[in-house]
């Protein structure tokens, strides 16, 4: 899928900085980052641990506020939103996939996937329909009654992907989604991401694994809080 300059930005970051602490002990996690992602792009953010890539993802996910700079998500200035509006933003526009899966324990796969829809205020029947559809999309419709501890790591991560997708968000944010998975499950989950990308989803994926990054169509590198575009890679044959 080629990216056209006419396609609007899903996210657009200008001069973003994030500083932890103050004075002598201040840590500059992000320094003056400019970054934008267009609709339908599949971007991998790579960098070593401590490079600031997780901080970038947290800011992009409205989980953390930047120290300075501006962040537009679907054209909205996130800094202007209050806490409740940001929670609506996370609910409708962003789908998270975490390294540690972060499913709610003792709660069925279906209930986990329904959760964002509950916060979105959907009725019971429509919730169930959409959650089942999302589970089917990740190939887990037969396991909707299983609890997280009854699922393998790869299955848990697929539940998490289903949960991230179920509200139809503009942006899928994945933080080391394969970090806790064996190679077979990694292949499964990455194939899932490929499929989502083909169907037009916008994906920003953080990884330190070059193999994983190689699946994306665009790679950016974070080093010491600064972001640089990786050299354009050869076109890949799907």
């Amino acid at each position: 899928m080629t990216v056209d300059a006419q396609v609007p930005h899903v996210l657009d970051v200008r001069g973003l900085s994030k500083v932890y602490g103050e004075g002598e002990t201040a840590v500059h996690a992000l320094r003056d980052v400019d970054f934008s992602v267009r609709r339908g792009e599949y971007v991998a953010v790579i960098g070593q641990s401590g490079s600031g890539k997780s901080t970038l993802l947290n800011v992009l996910g409205c989980l953390d506020a930047p120290t300075s700079g501006r962040y537009f998500l679907e054209g909205l200035d996130v800094a202007q939103l209050d806490e409740r509006q940001q929670s609506v933003m996370r609910n409708r526009q962003i789908g998270f996939v975490f390294q540690a899966f972060n499913l709610i324990p003792r709660t069925s796969a279906l209930a986990n996937v329904e959760l964002p829809l509950i916060y979105a205020g959907l009725g019971r029947r429509r919730r169930r329909e959409r959650a089942l559809a999302a589970l089917e999309l990740v190939g887990l419709h037969g396991r909707s009654d299983h609890r997280p501890n009854e699922l393998s790591g790869g299955q848990q991560q697929r539940v998490a992907v289903a949960r991230a997708l179920v509200t139809g968000p503009a942006l899928l944010l994945a933080d080391e989604p394969t970090g806790n998975l064996d190679s077979e499950s990694t292949t499964d989950v990455l194939a899932l991401f490929d499929g989502l990308h083909r169907s037009g989803r916008t994906i920003v994926l953080i990884t330190h694994d070059d193999e994983v990054a190689a699946r994306a169509e665009r790679v950016v590198v974070v080093r010491d809080g600064r972001l640089t575009e990786a050299s354009p890679r050869r076109a890949r044959a799907w």
Binding site: S87, I104, T107, I118, Y119
Partner: protein, 402 residues
């Protein structure tokens, strides 16, 4: 997000930690049960004593002589038959219905070889209604008996049983009171243990003239029993009695009176006040245990919030607004305390089914309503702080917590 979903989340959270939820509830259960039970005890005691006082005769007023304080400088004057006649004056005491002069003397009553220790009460026929004494069989003595000084006697139930056997009906039998023959004309209805100030079952009643003529001599009165026209007129009757006797006894300072006016109403008032204070004290003790239970809720909810910080982070990442998190934890604590409150009411009720001595605890409906209301309030009050803490967690901090 609908309230139904918030309640479902809260219930799931509580069920996930069954034992802990139950133990936390226990604090509230004990507190509420204590409130219900202790107020029921106070209420039961109050009703019991009200019943006892009703046995004294609702409109009854008793006047007894008393030693005035030393500052009066005299020994005081005894109550006399003239005092009793003065109280019966419809002009001076319009609220007095009847006046019964009373003399009492302890005496042994004998019939054949059987003997009984009794208190002889000599009075007039009005005494029966004035002192609320019920006749069981036979007849009461009449005004004619009093005028003639006839030695007729009405036995209390215990005395009759002692002399003639349990359940006997010894009408027209002769007995000796301190060796003086009296004829039994009636037997009192059994009054029961502890009814009133003394036990009427151990009394024998005779015309005052007969008692004075053969046993005590024509001296001072032991007491005067007055019946007010109605329960409402009782206070007025009391003040009329006081002013008449003050005048007759030359008393101008009520502190220095050489007589005392006692009424069932006064007694009821004093006992009622004492019992109210007692009940309040019990309720206060119970309330303390409720506060302790409430602090238990705060404690456990704080633990729960800390333990579930990561879950809170996940929920926030998925778009839970602060109000949803606040609601979830607040509803958890409200459910804990409300269910605890309802169970506490049940336990309290069960406790009141156990009779204690002479009286039964009587549950106050108001206490039940208040207990349930208070327990819901405890849930909100003691759950508010932990719930706010959960709602204010920054998503990134909550997610980072392991």
């Amino acid at each position: 997000m609908s309230p139904v979903e918030i309640v479902r989340f809260a219930v799931r959270g509580l069920i996930a930690n069954r034992l802990r939820s139950l133990l936390t509830m226990l604090g509230i259960i004990i507190g509420i049960a204590a409130v219900i039970l202790l107020t029921a005890l106070g209420n039961g005691a109050s009703q019991f004593i009200q019943g006892q006082i009703a046995g004294l005769g609702a409109n009854s007023i008793t006047i007894i002589p008393r030693q005035p304080p030393d500052s009066a400088g005299t020994d005081g004057r005894p109550l006399s038959a003239a005092d009793a006649r003065a109280l019966a004056d419809p002009q001076g005491a319009p609220d007095v219905a009847s006046v019964s002069p009373v003399v009492t003397v302890p005496a042994s009553v004998d019939a054949g070889r059987a003997s009984s220790d009794a208190t002889v009460i000599g009075s007039t026929p009005t005494y029966f209604s004035g002192a609320n004494v019920q006749l069981g069989s036979g007849r009461v003595y009449t005004e004619a008996d009093v005028e003639a000084g006839r030695k007729v006697l009405i036995l209390g139930r215990t005395v009759a049983d002692d002399l003639f056997g349990a359940g006997s009906n010894p009408l027209e039998r002769d007995v000796l009171v301190r060796g003086v023959p009296f004829r039994v004309v009636g037997v009192l209805a059994p009054a029961g243990e502890g009814q009133g100030l003394s036990n009427p079952d151990e009394n024998v009643l005779a015309p005052i003239t007969a008692v004075q003529g053969s046993l005590t001599g024509f001296g001072d009165l032991g007491q005067i029993v007055v019946q007010a026209r109605s329960t409402e007129a009782q206070a007025a009757a009391e003040s009329e009695i006081n002013s008449i006797l003050d005048r007759r006894h030359g008393i101008d300072d009520p502190e220095l009176r050489d007589f005392q006016v006692i009424s069932a109403r006064q007694l009821a008032d004093v006992l009622d006040q004492t019992l109210s204070a007692f009940t309040l004290l019990l309720a206060a003790i119970a309330a303390i245990s409720l506060v302790v239970g409430g602090i238990g809720i705060t404690n456990i909810m704080l633990v729960s919030v800390t333990e579930r910080t990561r879950e809170i982070g996940i929920r926030k990442a998925l778009g839970a607004p602060p109000s949803a998190i606040l609601g979830q934890f607040l509803v958890e604590s409200i459910i804990l305390s409300l269910v605890g409150g309802v169970l506490g009411v049940a336990v309290g009720f069960a406790g009141t089914l156990v009779p204690l001595g002479d009286f039964r605890p009587v549950v106050l409906p108001a206490a039940v309503v208040a207990a349930v209301g208070v327990s819901a309030g405890i849930g909100i009050f003691f759950g508010a702080y932990p719930a706010r803490r959960a709602a204010r967690l920054r998503p990134i901090d909550a997610l980072r917590r392991e």
